[in-house]
């Protein structure tokens, strides 16, 4: 297979994408347990979708893995016990673009924050790869919702982390844009360890190598389901439709 862009699947600069292990994670919200002593494992270099109804704690789990949940207990490491520091990139449902920066400066914000030399050439190439080569000097207010989310994807790609966490990154855009963004993300993030939170089983079945359903209070993760075939998939195939029914039943709390 010809790689569309040199950095798309596991570039040389990046360490091999690790598997991720969450051990004994507990998080309480206003005295109520979101999850308690939760264990989870996410396969190396594969795309996992965490599914579940709203408010089960999917986003909280993602924040725990990203190191953003200060009040959570438990450990998050790679499968061989190494710390997660510097391995993770994060993409939120909101684009979180800084409104005072142009698209390219938004893509470069990570380098600036770390005090590294901002590689404008590569940033321009990444923007071009997500189809925004002509828009790199525009500010977020001048871009459509789909374009902004593509800038956010470019920013995530620019960070070049082996692990990418995504919290419903494509829910805020219209259906057609969502499908294009999904395909783009799938191509560009191939080979990385991706954990994507979604409440949409169709999205999970289109994109994921593996799905995990999160349900209950305190929440727990059900056994992972491997989705057969190469993604992005045709979700009208009977096998996928059957999986869809299973996922819905699992999310609904059926045994």
């Amino acid at each position: 297979m010809q790689l569309p862009f040199p950095w798309a699947p596991a570039p040389a600069s990046m360490v091999a994408p690790p598997a991720i292990r969450v051990t004994g994670a507990s998080l309480h919200y206003h005295g109520h347990p979101v999850f308690d002593d939760l264990d989870a494992e996410f396969a190396a270099g594969s795309w996992t979708c965490v599914l579940g109804p709203s408010g089960t704690g999917k986003s909280s789990l993602l924040r725990v893995i990203a190191g953003l949940a200060a009040d959570a207990s438990g450990t998050v490491t790679t499968a061989d016990g190494a710390p997660m520091r510097g391995l993770v990139g994060f993409m939120d449902q909101r684009d979180l673009l800084l409104p005072w920066l142009s698209a390219i400066d938004n893509v470069l914000i990570g380098a600036r924050l770390r005090g590294e030399h901002p590689d404008e050439e590569r940033a321009a190439a990444v923007l071009a790869a997500v189809g925004l080569g002509a828009a790199k000097t525009l500010r977020p207010a001048e871009l459509s919702g789909g374009m902004r989310q593509r800038v956010a994807l470019a920013r995530t790609l620019m960070e070049d982390r082996p692990v990418v966490l995504m919290d419903e990154p494509f829910t805020a855009v219209d259906a057609l844009t969502r499908i294009r963004l999904q395909e783009l993300a799938r191509t560009m993030l191939a080979g990385r360890t991706v954990i994507m939170v979604t409440h949409d089983p169709w999205e999970a079945l289109r994109l994921a190598d593996c799905t995990q359903v999160m349900t209950g209070t305190p929440a727990r993760l059900l056994a992972p389901t491997v989705v057969p075939g190469l993604s992005p998939r045709d979700i009208t195939k009977p096998k996928i439709v059957a999986l869809y029914r299973d996922l819905l039943a699992a999310m609904d709390g059926a045994p």
């Binding site: 190191g67 979180l96 800084l98 409104p99 924050l113 005090g115």
Partner: protein, 261 residues
């Protein structure tokens, strides 16, 4: 087109106000030392324009110096309070108390300390400007979108808080700082004029008191009009500069802007 229309509206309002003023003077037959007619004020404004201009320059200097010093102090205090825990504990009470003491009550003391010259008026303007700038900027620095901070935390591993201040928190707080500076620009002339009233030998506040003492009410009105023009010039000058500096903020509308203009 809209701009033209709003200028036209302002002109009509001014003409109506002047006409009403003239009508009141004619109907009541008020003596010129109580309420001079607009024409008399205009004559005083033209014949004494050199005198008024000299005094306006003094007041303008006091205002601009107050804005620079008070603005700088306000910005530095807000930054310190927002980013350094000891500053939060030590400076925050000072900030609050600086507002508990009525600034006007300090004017005589300031004149006593800094003399009859410009320094006491600059100090007065600085004091009155400091708080709105510090309070607004601090508020902006505290309200950084949490998602941006999370993003920065993941990108830096939480290792470079100062870079986050520089690249995220300060730029994000600029619109708030701008509203503080706009308020400051609107109140700055008050500080300077109060200072001049308490004791001075120059400035528009001095010119007003002086004219008042000699029953030159027309000149007093002319000085007042000059002060109004000066205050508007300061406000719109600051507003213009801020709009240019923060062009990415679409809602940075001036306080005095009319709806839909």
């Amino acid at each position: 087109m809209n701009k033209l229309r709003s200028v036209g509206r302002a002109a009509i309002t001014a003409i109506v106000a002047l006409a009403a003023w003239q009508v009141i003077v004619s109907l009541t037959g008020a003596p010129a030392y109580v309420l001079p007619s607009p024409a008399r004020v205009a004559v005083a404004w033209v014949t004494r324009s050199g005198y008024l201009l000299d005094n306006a320059l003094v007041t303008a200097t006091e205002i601009v110096a107050g804005l620079l010093i008070g603005g700088t102090l306000g910005i530095v205090s807000a930054l310190a309070v927002a980013t350094l825990a000891p500053a939060r504990r030590w400076l925050m009470p000072v900030l609050v108390v600086s507002q508990a003491v009525p600034v006007f009550a300090l004017a005589p003391i300031l004149v006593l300390w800094f003399g009859y010259g410009m320094a006491s008026k600059i100090a007065m303007a600085t004091l009155i400007i400091y708080f709105p700038v510090a309070a607004a900027f601090l508020d902006g620095l505290r309200r950084t979108e949490p998602g941006w901070l999370d993003m920065a935390r993941v990108m830096t591993g939480n290792a470079r808080p100062w870079a986050v201040v520089r690249y995220v928190r300060v730029p994000a707080a600029l619109p708030a700082l701008a509203s503080g500076l706009r308020v400051a620009a609107a109140v700055a002339p008050i500080g300077a004029v109060i200072g001049e009233w308490v004791g001075s030998g120059a400035g528009l506040g001095y010119a007003m008191l002086h004219a008042n003492g000699r029953m030159q009410t027309d000149l007093m009105f002319a000085a007042l009009a000059t002060l109004a023009v000066l205050a508007l010039a300061v406000y719109y000058g600051v507003d213009w500069a801020l709009r240019r500096a923060i062009s990415w903020q679409p809602d940075s509308a001036a306080i005095f802007d009319q709806q839909g203009s």
